[in-house]
């Protein structure tokens, strides 16, 4: 028992319980998803009994696989389209907005910044219902369906690029821009040739973040969808998860996960390329994660 007392009385004893909580947490948070991915490769119809490895639910099965079930691959394609279109609109809009309100002082930009932060923390459900009411009770050029979904997603995601770019602007400071102007550049030229390249990694990080968040979105896309042909993967999972689905649903979810991972990997490779001449940048995955 002596060693136990000594161990207990050691003032610099590492708190081991923290390590065990962390390990258990990681198992709890990731194992269920890994099991779900595993069963997407099941050869049988069960999602709980392993019956051998196959790609049956991806493309093998003539009727029920993701590739051959029209509703499933429509959902996947629609999700990716929403992801790309929303990112292409939200990131430039957010970057310009961030630059503008960062340098323009007054009540209007301060109020706009405040509104943007509110849109960041508002429960998504409230925004989704409000947008649905707007579209159903006011005549707008938007139709429930793809266009409404894109508009809703951009509104909800706009704050990510703004917050990330503003944080980056704060660390860059104004010296580089002022140096460029002193050397004869116009304000616009200084933004285009000095500021925007320096903001490259931040814009990239926000694009990856927005894309990954959009393809995982559920609340807004469900309320603003125009029918079964504009229902993305998350809605498809919600509609069929409790109605005796086949492992094809797991396969669909797995494909969505791979799209997210692909976006992160491509983003990381572009990050490496963007910072290739910059000796001060952290080139590891940690540097990229730091931008996120």
């Amino acid at each position: 028992m002596g060693w136990l007392v000594r161990w207990w009385n050691d003032p610099w004893r590492p708190p081991r319980i923290m390590r065990w909580v962390t390990i258990l947490y990681l198992v709890w948070s990731l194992a269920p998803v890994l099991v779900a991915i595993l069963f997407s490769f099941n050869n049988g119809k069960s999602r709980t009994t392993w019956q051998g490895f196959s790609f049956r639910w991806y493309w093998g099965d003539p009727n029920l696989s993701v590739w051959n079930d029209t509703s499933m691959h429509t959902a996947l394609v629609h999700t990716l389209v929403l992801g790309v279109v929303s990112t292409v609109i939200a990131v430039p809009l957010g970057v310009l907005f961030a630059l503008g309100i960062d340098r323009w002082h007054g009540r209007l930009p301060a109020g706009a910044n405040f509104t943007m932060l509110l849109s960041f923390v508002i429960p998504e459900m409230l925004l989704a219902v409000a947008l649905l009411f707007l579209l159903t009770s006011v005549t707008t050029p938007l139709q429930l369906g793809t266009s409404a979904q894109v508009v809703g997603l951009v509104t909800f995601q706009l704050s990510y690029p703004v917050i990330i770019v503003r944080a980056r602007l704060l660390t860059i400071g104004k010296h580089y821009e002022e140096a460029a102007i002193d050397l004869g550049a116009s304000q616009v030229g200084a933004i285009r040739r000095v500021l925007l390249p320096m903001l490259g990694p931040a814009m990239l990080a926000s694009a990856v973040l927005v894309f990954a968040d959009v393809i995982d979105d559920f609340v807004i896309v469900r309320y603003l969808s125009g029918g079964s042909d504009t229902e993305p993967v998350s809605v498809k999972i919600y509609n069929t998860a409790r109605a005796a689905p086949t492992p094809a649903l797991n396969a669909l979810a797995t494909l969505l996960l791979f799209s997210s991972i692909a976006a992160v990997v491509i983003g990381y490779l572009i990050y490496r390329w963007l910072t290739r001449g910059d000796a001060t940048a952290n080139k590891g995955i940690g540097g990229f994660a730091g931008e996120l």
């Binding site: 962390t22 269920p32 509110l118 009411f133 009770s137 979810a253 997210s260 590891g284």
Partner: protein, 305 residues
């Protein structure tokens, strides 16, 4: 316009910055502020007597509060059909947030201060749930918790006992744990950022001055991490207030429904649109103070750094 702004760039009244910000401002005004007004116009508006669809009333002077009174009487009144769900929302969100904090704090603490060379790998694994769709994470639990799922199989120890727990049939425990599972990643990262910023030296100073491990934690680490704790609790509570899908996926019974389910069940029903709007206003009113608190705390953060 840009050219003109460029020439005047050094003047204090440059038009360039407003020109850059205007598209975003217009977007937010039309698609964030205006929709909120539409909700009010519908809640305080009228109803078509035949088709039972809501008719928004745009002039605030003509608003009537019949919808609101109806919803309120059903929350607090004698036949309070909505009361239990509201109460349940508060209880579920409170319990789930406490559980989240109990799980998240040690994990964030370990990653920030004790992980050593594993820090990078750990961070990636902590960020991983962000890249996995919420619906997929819930689907994973639906698979595990089915009657013939792996959890029941595990509990019966390979057929030794006959365990038939209906996990997915209106069990509050499942829903609360589902909420914890869904939202805890969003809590760990802000906590990690807060704990990572506490200098090791201040903790060492406390210990050198005679504080035990427990009092050093309570009086230094916990105290210094307070803003991060509050921010992370808010950022997990707010989306939980509008959550209905966790409930639908893991329970699908009215016995566990929350205010999010009330909104979802009424929003697409003709004749109940106004009620859905009233619930939205109610949740917004409850969420407004935490939202403002969070916005203020992040703004102070920006001013400090």
């Amino acid at each position: 316009m840009l050219k003109k702004a460029g020439r005047k760039s050094r003047g204090r009244r440059s038009l360039l910055w407003p020109a850059l910000a205007i598209p975003g401002i217009v977007w937010l005004a039309l698609l964030f502020i205006l929709p909120m007004y539409v909700v009010l116009a519908i809640v305080f508006g009228q109803q078509d007597p035949i088709f039972r669809n809501a008719i928004p009333v745009w002039n605030p002077l003509q608003w009537n509060s019949a919808q609101f009174q109806y919803v309120f009487s059903n929350i607090f009144g004698a036949n309070a059909i909505y009361g239990p769900a509201i109460l349940r929302t508060i209880v579920f969100v409170l319990i789930a947030s406490c559980l989240c904090l109990i799980v998240a704090y040690p994990v964030a603490y370990f990653t920030a201060r004790l992980a050593g060379r594993w820090k990078g790998v750990l961070l990636i694994m902590l960020i991983a749930p962000f890249w996995i769709s919420y619906m997929m994470r819930m689907l994973a639990w639906v698979n595990l918790l089915q009657n013939d799922g792996l959890i029941n199989k595990g509990l019966s120890l390979g057929g030794l006992f006959n365990v038939q727990v209906d996990w997915l049939d209106g069990m509050p425990l499942t829903v609360i744990l589902g909420l914890v599972y869904g939202y805890v990643p969003y809590m760990i990262l802000p906590l990690f950022a807060g704990l990572d910023r506490i200098p090791q030296s201040s903790l060492e100073a406390a210990r050198d001055l005679g504080a035990g491990r427990f009092s050093a934690f309570v009086r230094v680490t916990w105290r210094l991490s307070q803003p991060a704790v509050i921010a992370s609790v808010l950022i997990t509570c707010l989306p939980m207030l509008g959550d209905y899908y966790t409930n639908d996926m893991l329970s699908a019974q009215p016995s566990t429904s929350m205010v999010g389910n009330l909104i979802n069940n009424t929003v697409l029903t003709p004749g109940q649109t106004g009620q859905a709007g009233a619930f939205v206003v109610l949740v917004l009113a409850a969420a407004l103070l935490p939202m403002l608190w969070y916005v203020r705390s992040t703004r102070d953060e920006g001013a400090r750094s």
